[in-house]
């Protein structure tokens, strides 16, 4: 059945395969890159694409392909952990709002209003002021931004489920709020969460790039796609390829994830098209 729906949605397959391809490229960089990431060779800097260096070299003579591979890994890891934080805190909040209702729901809604007032950049600035810039702080900032998003999606999806007869039956059978949330609400909003997770993953990759670009995210000697763009900042007018390579990589990854997300939504349930999924900007 899954195979059939996949065949009916070619964009889903293309998107998933492309996104998985980039993720794999990043993973491989843990064991192998064409050149060591930190290998500086000033004599061979600013080289264009050639047989030795498929994507050329940067201002320190480092191999761009190697940097892109490791940078892709960093971007994926930061964005994925940001999604995990959002799911881990946001989904229980959203489910609790529906299962308990009343004061709990009011508190969850006000909390998510409050978090919406702090865009990821502001959170990152505050964290950087407190703890200094770094990958972990970028993850926390993106995670905090994701919490209200998942709380709202989980609540929106669960509200529709909570009115079903089988939930009322479970309540009559003596199940408590927590059991109802875990056994009946959560499994039924999984597809919503997976789709929103894909969207947030792509937004997270954009956010990581932005934060690292302004110096609040990944720090050298580690590398990320955003940090490569920061390095290119003072040189791209003379050497455009320094910014073109990481920039295009980000665009391709995000397009792949968005296509996969749209495809997943259509494949899992066409009706989801109109439920509380938000394509908001980070």
């Amino acid at each position: 059945m899954i195979w059939q729906s996949v065949r009916r949605h070619p964009s889903l397959v293309i998107g998933l395969m492309a996104a998985a391809g980039f993720a794999l490229l990043g993973l491989i960089s843990l064991w192998w890159t064409p050149y060591p990431i930190e290998q500086i060779n000033i004599a061979r800097r600013f080289l264009g694409p050639m047989a030795d260096h498929w994507l050329g070299t940067d201002h320190l003579g480092r191999d761009m392909l190697s940097l892109v591979m490791r940078g892709t890994l960093t971007s994926f890891v930061v964005a994925a952990l940001g999604v995990l934080i959002g799911v881990g805190i946001g989904v229980p909040l959203g489910l609790a709002a529906v299962a308990w209702g009343g004061l709990v729901e009011w508190l969850v809604l006000r909390f998510s209003d409050l978090t919406f007032a702090f865009p990821a950049v502001i959170v990152a600035i505050l964290i950087a002021a407190l703890a200094g810039p770094g990958e972990t702080n970028a993850i926390v900032a993106i995670g905090i931004f994701n919490i209200p998003v998942f709380a709202r999606v989980a609540r929106g999806g669960a509200l529709a489920i909570a009115t079903q007869d089988y939930v009322a039956a479970a309540r009559l059978a003596g199940l408590g709020n927590a059991a109802i949330a875990a056994r009946h609400l959560l499994p039924n909003i999984m597809s919503l969460l997976i789709v929103q997770g894909t969207i947030q993953l792509s937004l997270g990759i954009l956010a990581e790039a932005g934060l690292s670009y302004i110096g609040l995210g990944t720090q050298p000697p580690a590398t990320s796609l955003g940090l490569m763009l920061r390095d290119a900042q003072s040189l791209f007018l003379i050497h455009p390829s320094l910014s073109l390579v990481p920039g295009l990589t980000i665009v391709l990854i995000v397009i792949a994830l968005n296509i996969a997300g749209d495809g997943l939504r259509d494949a899992m349930d066409p009706r989801l098209r109109h439920q509380g999924l938000s394509h908001g900007a980070g």
Binding site: F118, A120, V121, L126, G210, G247, V251
Partner: protein, 321 residues
């Protein structure tokens, strides 16, 4: 339904706005208060005598208990007094106002461009639904959503500032010196910010319009003899604008935050650069003032959109958001 539910809605919304700001101010204050390092010692340097540091602490009001300092800060802000920057010796409110003269016009330019570009594209795609024009426009929009705005800014600089030399690569001339040059300096950053927003708007507009055209009143209008595009223009677009309005408000709020990143590409003296300098110089009065200013603008935008929404859509009158 009379005037009363609307008034009630407004009162509740504004009360919520005030409460959000109060809690946000509390969070910002507490976080920055936890910051290691004594601002007084930072200003005087490590060789200062303990007496001098203690005297400056009293002068800066740092000797008072935290709750007193918080209340003094909040009540001061209500009067428009954000305190004195510890490094620049200038009122924080003045510094923020100077930077807002860059940040706000920049966000407005980006918003206007994204509406002017995004909405027609969305409407056109919806009217040509399923045809090649629709597909082509949505491919463009899909790509636009994926482009980081600051990177697009770099590309725009390469094309319009370096190759064509039409516009400056960066920097900013103050409005009162040369308003024309100031505006020219904001064009490229404005376009950079607008691209992803326009793409999102086009997608939302298309979806909303497609939804609306499947509803009964469009069928009624068609039955009355209107052509499809007449029906969409007269009845569809107006109704589809409601969801678009919500997205627009959220977008404007995030645009203001987005300027913090894009102003780095163009070396613009906006709010973001003010905050970064303040952090590196441990100017906490300035950091918290500028941060709360960003939060106020974000929250106020969402409030305005909510109110506009309630006034435009009679179905929502008096309903809890």
């Amino acid at each position: 339904m009379g005037v009363f539910p609307v008034t009630l809605f407004l009162v509740r919304r504004i009360a919520g706005f005030a409460a959000t700001l109060f809690v946000a101010a509390l969070i910002i204050f507490l976080l920055l208060d936890l910051l290691p390092g004594d601002p007084a010692r930072f200003i005087l340097g490590i060789n200062a005598s303990p007496e001098a540091v203690a005297a400056l602490r009293v002068q800066m009001g740092l000797d008072a208990p935290a709750h007193e300092r918080f209340l003094r800060w909040v009540s001061g802000m209500l009067m428009g007094d954000f305190g004195l920057s510890t490094t620049q010796r200038l009122p924080v409110a003045t510094l923020i106002a100077e930077r807002m003269a860059v940040t706000l016009p920049l966000s407005l330019i980006a918003m206007v461009v994204s509406v002017v570009v995004g909405l027609p594209i969305g409407i056109l795609a919806a009217m040509r639904r399923g045809r090649p024009t629709d597909t082509a426009l949505m491919v463009v929009a899909q790509t636009g959503v994926a482009v980081p705005n600051f990177w697009f800014g770099m590309l725009l600089t390469l094309v319009f500032a370096v190759s064509l030399r039409w516009l400056p690569t960066g920097g900013f001339v103050p409005w009162d010196e040369d308003a024309g040059a100031a505006a020219r300096g904001l064009i490229l950053p404005g376009l950079a910010l607008a691209l992803p927003q326009a793409s999102i708007l086009a997608r939302v507009m298309r979806t909303a319009l497609v939804d609306v055209t499947e509803q009964d009143f469009i069928r009624t209008a068609r039955a009355k003899g209107l052509t499809k595009s007449e029906a969409i223009w007269r009845h569809g677009v107006r109704n589809a604008l409601l969801p678009v309005l919500t997205i627009l408000g959220l977008q404007f709020a995030y645009l203001i935050a987005g300027t913090v990143i894009v102003e780095n590409v163009f070396f613009l003296p906006g709010l973001g650069r003010l905050i970064f300098t303040a952090i590196s110089e441990r100017d906490l009065v300035l950091v918290r003032g500028a941060t709360i200013a960003l939060v106020v603008v974000t929250t106020a935008t969402m409030l305005i959109v909510d109110i506009a929404y309630a006034l435009v859509d009679p179905r929502l009158k008096g309903r809890d958001a």
